[in-house]
């Protein structure tokens, strides 16, 4: 069948494209985000006290496997998310940045505990970075010293929510292209 008056359709597609909507892949986006959001792989990264609570969240009582976080990776290249649990010092900062740069997009950062957020109790020290947001973009902050495991879970679920409303195609999956 031949479509008559198809200008309005072309017009609509053009409009949608301009505003960034993907007509077809929109549904796919939702599906992919459902998958992505429920299987965020964290990097095993812990520098100090908060890291022990992070381990506790991984153990049986709190069990972050319930939310799809259990596949902790030792290599940044396989991780989706980095939980910065603990104090970041001047000597560690370039290393952390390098770890972040080595992760594949889309990637997320959670700052756990007072130290990662602002330097915490060590704010006045000569060797502590006052907040990792100076060196990395942070998605979720979880305050506490250390935060309770429940707080950690809550923070991780906030990240899941964020992931689920993001646009995948043309946005987070191509971030690097855009920056280049």
């Amino acid at each position: 069948m031949e479509i008559k008056n198809k200008e309005y359709l072309d017009d609509m597609v053009r409009q949608l494209n301009e505003s960034g909507t993907k007509v077809f892949v929109g549904c796919l986006d939702e599906f992919i985000n459902w998958g992505r959001g429920n299987s965020i792989w964290p990097l095993t990264f812990a520098t100090s006290c908060c890291g022990i609570e992070y381990m506790a969240v991984g153990a049986a009582r709190y069990d972050f496997a319930r939310f799809g976080f259990e596949v902790t990776r030792a290599s940044p290249r396989q991780a989706d998310m980095i939980m910065v649990a603990g104090t970041i010092t001047h000597k560690m900062a370039p290393v952390l940045r390098r770890l972040y740069d080595q992760m594949a997009d889309p990637k997320y950062v959670i700052a756990v505990g007072g130290c990662a957020i602002s330097g915490g109790p060590f704010k006045k020290s000569y060797h502590v970075v006052n907040g990792i947001d100076q060196i990395l973009p942070v998605d979720v902050f979880i305050p506490g010293c250390p935060p309770r495991p429940e707080a950690l879970l809550y923070g991780m679920m906030q990240l899941q929510k964020k992931v689920k409303v993001q646009k995948f195609f043309g946005d987070v999956n191509r971030k690097t292209d855009k920056e280049e």
Binding site: T47, C49, R61, P94
Partner: protein, 518 residues
């Protein structure tokens, strides 16, 4: 107050050697000092391991622009890392030290932070990657008395060096090793510390005494109570405060619970490092029971902030006694389960027996206390050597092994859990009534002098050296880390072991990195 013997800097090496020959073979603590106008120097705490006698020596130099002291690392091996720490903090160089590099800070760091005149603005955050040098410097005296600087090679160009850490799941935090290999055999191991160096000692110099307590919990968070106990004891000793019996009992029980907590975590992590992931969940399951007991009384799970100068933050929770008893009844049979799950396993035995042997002489010389020292046959338990709190009235065995390998280090800790349960059992029903806090003045000032107090932490002697000038701030507060001597011994432990053994050795030596770096 400690009685300190001052020794001229030129004679120091000879005098130190004499003390060593008299049997002072354990360098407990080495503290760098900046006495302002009076010069820079170092304070040495020595102990005779046979008689438990202590002496404190000090030496200093008034040359401020290029201070030099004599090294004693040929006498006590542990001095090697301590002297590097002092060089890093104060810029004092040690003559005869084979490897005068910074220990914690970056190579391109400007100045020496623990000097009183250190300028904070000199070191902004540098985001450039640190270049690791393969060379090191030392200074030597020639026969004619002149001093030369010499460069020495750490790793040759054609050596095969691999890097482990600082981001590696088996280094328990952010420790970094550079390992030179020949095939799979470790020829040399170079430890890089400082990735979690928070500058706590410097911070303490501008905090009041009650404020400094908060930072001590965060040093070795698996010995939070012990660290704080040492600091409180040191200040109480300095001020002549007697805490009540009740406080002593509660502190002892809490310390022992903390020790069990730490050893359970040790078990979990050691198993995980050796590939037994299931056992990790067992340890953590039972650790949560202790954390619940802690939480009911102190309000914290990991960082508890419970002891205060002269007492405790709060009285024990009403169901504390009952909960602790339930835990003891639960824990004893569970330990058997642990051994069934992991200890008897052939792979575990094969990977740990005879691996990473530390001789008793080396353990003493490095000052490797705690489970590591006791596995080598050195009776180094502070609870026995210098009893504090109520350890003199309880019965318990000091677990000693003689093999000094990974397996005995593991077994020491597992058996210490039982001993800790015994100690708690003896005390839990007899907690006397009494005050939980001695009345203190609103502003706490410590009389002038220098003081040292030590406790048995989860992984060795944890000491506090305090020098006060009568102010409400400490003039110098040094924490004798239990972990630093352990990593200092890593090179010796790992020589000629296989690279895969490094993981087993690291797991059983059981260091906590923020405690090393402070």
């Amino acid at each position: 107050m400690d009685n300190i013997i001052t020794i001229d800097k030129y004679d120091f090496h000879d005098v130190a050697l004499e003390y060593k020959e008299q049997g002072y073979d354990f360098l407990r603590c080495l503290t760098g000092m900046d006495w302002g106008e009076d010069g820079l120097g170092a304070v040495y705490h020595l102990e005779n391991t046979l008689t438990q006698e202590n002496v404190v020596l000090k030496t200093k130099t008034t040359e401020l622009s290029d201070p030099i002291l004599l090294s004693v690392c040929d006498i006590w091996k542990g001095a090697e890392f301590y002297e590097r720490e002092i060089f890093d903090y104060f810029g004092i160089r040690f003559l005869g030290h084979p490897d005068m590099r910074r220990l914690f800070l970056r190579e391109d760091w400007v100045g020496h932070p623990l000097r009183k005149d250190y300028d904070f603005s000199l070191n902004p955050l540098r985001m450039t990657n640190e270049v690791t040098a393969d060379m090191t410097q030392n200074i030597e005296v020639l026969k004619d008395g002149s001093v030369i600087k010499k460069r020495e090679v750490l790793f040759d160009e054609d050596e095969y060096v691999i890097n482990i850490g600082p981001q590696h799941p088996a280094t328990h935090g952010v420790l970094r090793f550079r390992v030179s290999l020949e095939g799979e055999t470790i020829k040399k191991l170079d430890v890089h510390c400082g990735y979690i160096h928070r500058g706590i000692e410097k911070m303490c110099e501008s905090l009041t005494y009650p404020q400094t307590l908060a930072l001590s919990d965060r040093l070795d968070y698996l010995a939070a109570h012990h660290n704080r106990h040492a600091l409180c004891m040191c200040i109480e000793k300095a001020m002549g405060i007697e805490v009540s019996e009740r406080v002593q009992y509660i502190r002892t029980i809490m310390d022992e619970l903390q020790r069990i907590d730490s050893h359970l975590l040790f078990y979990s992590c050691a198993c995980m490092d050796l590939g037994a992931l299931t056992a990790f969940f067992y340890g953590f399951r039972d650790r949560e029971k202790i954390l619940d007991i802690f939480e009911a009384t102190t309000g914290g799970r990991l960082i508890q902030n419970y002891y205060t100068i002269g007492g405790l933050q709060a009285d024990i929770a009403p169901d504390f006694v009952q909960k602790v008893k339930e835990f003891i009844t639960y824990m004893r049979p569970t330990l058997k389960e642990y051994h069934d799950v992991f200890t008897g396993n052939v792979i575990m035995q094969g990977r740990t027996k005879g691996v990473g042997v530390l001789s008793k002489e080396d353990a003493v010389s490095f000052g490797a206390t705690g489970g590591t020292g006791r596995a080598s046959g050195w009776a180094c338990d502070v609870r026995k050597r210098h009893p504090y709190a109520v350890y003199d009235i309880v019965q318990f065995d000091e677990i000693l092994y003689t093999e000094g390998d990974c397996f005995s280090r593991y077994m020491v800790r597992m058996k210490e859990i039982e001993q800790s349960l015994n100690i708690i059992e003896q005390l839990i029903d007899n907690i006397p009534d009494g005050e939980i806090q001695v009345k203190m003045k609103p502003i706490i000032k410590v009389p002038e002098g220098s003081y040292y107090a030590a406790v048995e932490g989860s992984r060795g002697e944890f000491g506090v050296y305090l020098e006060s000038r009568g102010d409400k701030f400490p003039y110098r507060l040094k924490f004798r880390s239990s972990g630093l001597p352990l990593v200092a011994a890593m090179d010796t432990l790992c020589r000629d072991a296989k690279i895969a053994d490094l993981i087993a050795i690291g797991a059983t030596v059981d260091y906590v990195v923020p405690d090393i770096d402070r």
